[in-house]
Symmetry: C2
């Protein structure tokens, strides 16, 4: 453990870095690798390196990494491939311990590139330098605000994302950013000449600020080690996997993309089940599931209580059951209890509980959800009516009766606060569908999100998030009894 | 045909409407039914009706619908259920031809409610009034800007949405609105005491401004008529169906929600296939598929060309193949042709075509897509690199070289214009994944959308949209050969 943490801290928590191949040409990677961390707030020292010297963006350029008059933790290398052996030698001499190899033209190009890559790795290994890449698109590490992968730094968060595709990983990260999901770490792993997915998972499994790991991969290197590392890591935190190349034509594409042998989908599925990954059916579902795992307690079982009005309850129930979750019917006592909380015209309460299209206050909703969470045969709740006072507020605003609005706002605040406290109180998860209430900006959803309740667009997303929680909970229980 | 169009035009294109049960109490439906159309721009006359008289929102209130001194096309009825027979009698006497029954307390409550509903329908039928509901949440009709279903009027568009759930239909519509998808019509169908899903589909199939029909339903009434009507309608436009109650627990929920017998999922699946619906796997996918059908030509087959960088191509390919679409390999001539359009380090062009992480201009992208569309063995294109000059622009903006920026903008405009013209030119569809390029607002995506190219968040959404296009195209070809 300690050795990989120590080694990779030079890469993800460097106090200083040299950008080798730094360039004044804004079209070049060598420019971006200086400009991005500088602009987006990297906390350490940045040393551009280029034999031509001069300055870039106000920073003096060193002719060699060896000329830098201070210790350097990390080298970011963007030179032409044939320069990299020389550069790596100099990094060893300088005592650098980590490298991010952006340069392309190695194993991904076949024959000679493979030899060149082997040569570079030999130098790095002998000199004690661990390498990301080559042929990657950079990293983000919230620990030191080091960003060279993105034009803008991602929102800081507790999800680590390891991606075998630089562009697609970048794209998904930006989509996540747009949805407000924060990233602890992003790694475009490139050719994995030295560090592999297994290494990153091992490292991240010891990082307390990383709560969930997402992996986009197209093939596995060193299956046995991968298996063992993931098994151990899953004891500490969930890993959500999306694998590219699961179809025959997709597998053909992974060959030309990362030279990955995607392998048999059925074999891989079985391995995933054995290891205990949460496997996402679609690429971005990885993030949707992750945010529930970040904030919610693990459910004691797979029996879900659902709150909805009409069709939402139906769609939620379908989605849960298709994923193998259970939606048990309610006992008579609970049904009578709930009847008092629902509008008079609502149907006899069962599961899903139907609010019958009525506008309820946040307190009403908290009461119903609490009633469900109290049941020993309900393990988590999906709520499709997340406190919906906005329509009321906007309507009331037109009447000019400030005392009514004030009272409603008070009830709403009280209800939301209670609602958001329920997962901790009962140690069972809640996930929500937002309710726009005809307003484009949904402050209630924001409030729920800020209080750690995951809010989604659709009932199906909720069901998948709950399914992810259930899967990981079951894995942890299996591990504990092993 | 003409009879249903004539009859339902009174409901969806009324020149005037009476709100019976109009109320000054903002908490009541009788208030919303006046306030919403008034505020959101209904083009006809609004006559509030309430035995107490007075005025509501500046409009004089008539004590009876019979007192209104002008013809009335549509009655929106929100009175208590037991008042509805009397009200319906008066509507008949007034010569009203359409009614939207918001009032609840009918068949959905069982025994007595059923009798009451039958009584109301007898009066309406004898008097020649066609009815929406009862127990519905209203309608939206862009034809006359009539909105009583939503707090804000939806964006006007060419999708009609028939929903058996008022609240969930409303929620999905608002989500659609938020994504910029416009609605021609929304109907919360309620108990379908008179008008059924089949009637609405028949009516909408003759409305030229309706290009796609989306249906959320929980059960079928009068299966044979439904079958025949849909068969005929599908010859004119696509129908996308999402059915609630497809799981056992979901079916239990539809019973208490709309007293719908969800029926055997397998039987229903077979019927859908026979009829030729496009069936969505998830609720909101209905809209995602719809926007492709609105704008794109139908593909001549199911062989898809894919443009992507690395992982995006892989994920797109997987998603296509899982849905039964084909991703054929390219012939050598095309591969050589494409090689000249790609960066030198890109792998040998195959399908998916890999841009190898390079920033391309919109013209480059248009060239590659055009090369694919020209092939007689490619029926449509999914593009994962929709013209990505923004990153360049934002980078270039920092250099202060206006002539470069200007040139890039010119190339971008030219490329986007060509790109957007390709579907018409080759009569084959294009769908895109947006590319944020590290900017939160994506003007290129907006430009594409405005030019009628559907833009999605994920490769999987693109594949589903393309699958919807392929399915409908195949149905039309089957119909033409029958």
């Amino acid at each position: 453990m300690s050795s990989i943490v120590k080694q990779l801290d030079y890469i993800f928590k460097p106090e200083s870095m040299a950008i080798i191949g730094a360039s004044d040409n804004i079209a070049k990677w060598g420019h971006m690798m200086v400009e991005r961390p500088l602009r987006t707030g990297y906390k350490g020292a940045i040393y551009p390196v280029n034999p031509q010297g001069g300055s870039i963006l106000g920073l003096p350029v060193f002719r060699s990494v060896k000329d830098i008059p201070a210790p350097v933790d990390l080298a970011v290398i963007t030179t032409q491939a044939n320069q990299v052996p020389r550069v790596m030698h100099e990094c060893v001499e300088k005592g650098i311990r980590g490298a991010v190899l952006i340069s392309a033209g190695f194993a991904e190009t076949g024959g000679e590139g493979e030899d060149l890559q082997a040569k570079v790795m030999k130098i790095a290994r002998a000199g004690g330098i661990r390498c990301v890449g080559p042929n990657g698109m950079g990293i983000w590490s919230a620990a030191v605000c080091l960003n060279n992968a993105f034009e803008e730094a991602p929102k800081s968060g507790q999800i680590a994302f390891i991606s075998q595709s630089g562009t697609f990983g970048g794209y998904m990260s930006e989509l996540a950013n747009l949805k407000g999901y924060g990233l602890r770490t992003f790694i475009s792993i490139g050719n994995q000449a030295d560090l592999t997915v297994a290494d990153y998972i091992e490292y991240l499994s010891y990082d307390d600020e990383t709560r969930v790991i997402i992996v986009y991969m197209e093939g596995v290197k060193d299956g046995q080690r991968f298996f063992n590392v993931c098994k151990a890591a899953l004891n500490r935190k969930p890993i959500i996997l999306y694998k590219g190349g699961s179809s025959p034509a997709g597998a053909r594409a992974t060959m030309s993309h990362t030279a990955s042998v995607a392998g048999s989908e059925i074999v891989f599925q079985n391995v995933c089940r054995q290891i205990g990954f949460i496997r996402a059916e679609e690429s971005f579902q990885t993030f949707e599931i992750a945010i529930a795992l970040l904030s919610q307690p693990l459910p004691p079982g797979r029996r879900i209580g659902i709150l909805g009005t009409g069709g939402q309850g139906v769609v939620s129930t379908d989605a849960c059951q298709k994923l193998g979750l259970k939606v048990p019917e309610l006992d008579e006592e609970t049904s009578s209890l709930l009847m008092k909380m629902l509008p008079p015209h609502a149907p006899a309460p069962t599961n899903p509980v139907d609010f019958a299209g009525s506008y309820r206050t946040a307190v009403d909703e908290a009461n119903v959800v609490e009633t469900l969470l109290k049941l020993d045969y309900i393990d988590g709740v999906i709520s499709n009516v997340p406190v919906n006072p906005l329509l009321w507020s906007s309507r009331l605003a037109k009447t000019g009766k400030p005392e009514i609005i004030e009272n409603l706002n008070k009830i709403t605040d009280e209800g939301i606060k209670r609602f958001c406290g329920l997962p901790r109180e009962y140690n069972k998860p809640i996930v929500c569908v937002r309710w726009y209430s005809s307003v484009k900006k949904d402050p209630v959803a924001d409030q729920l999100t800020q209080s750690g309740i995951p809010v989604y667009d659709t009932p199906e997303q909720c069901a998948r998030a709950m399914h992810g929680l259930v899967n990981y909970a079951e894995l942890r229980r299996r591990m504990n009894t092993d």
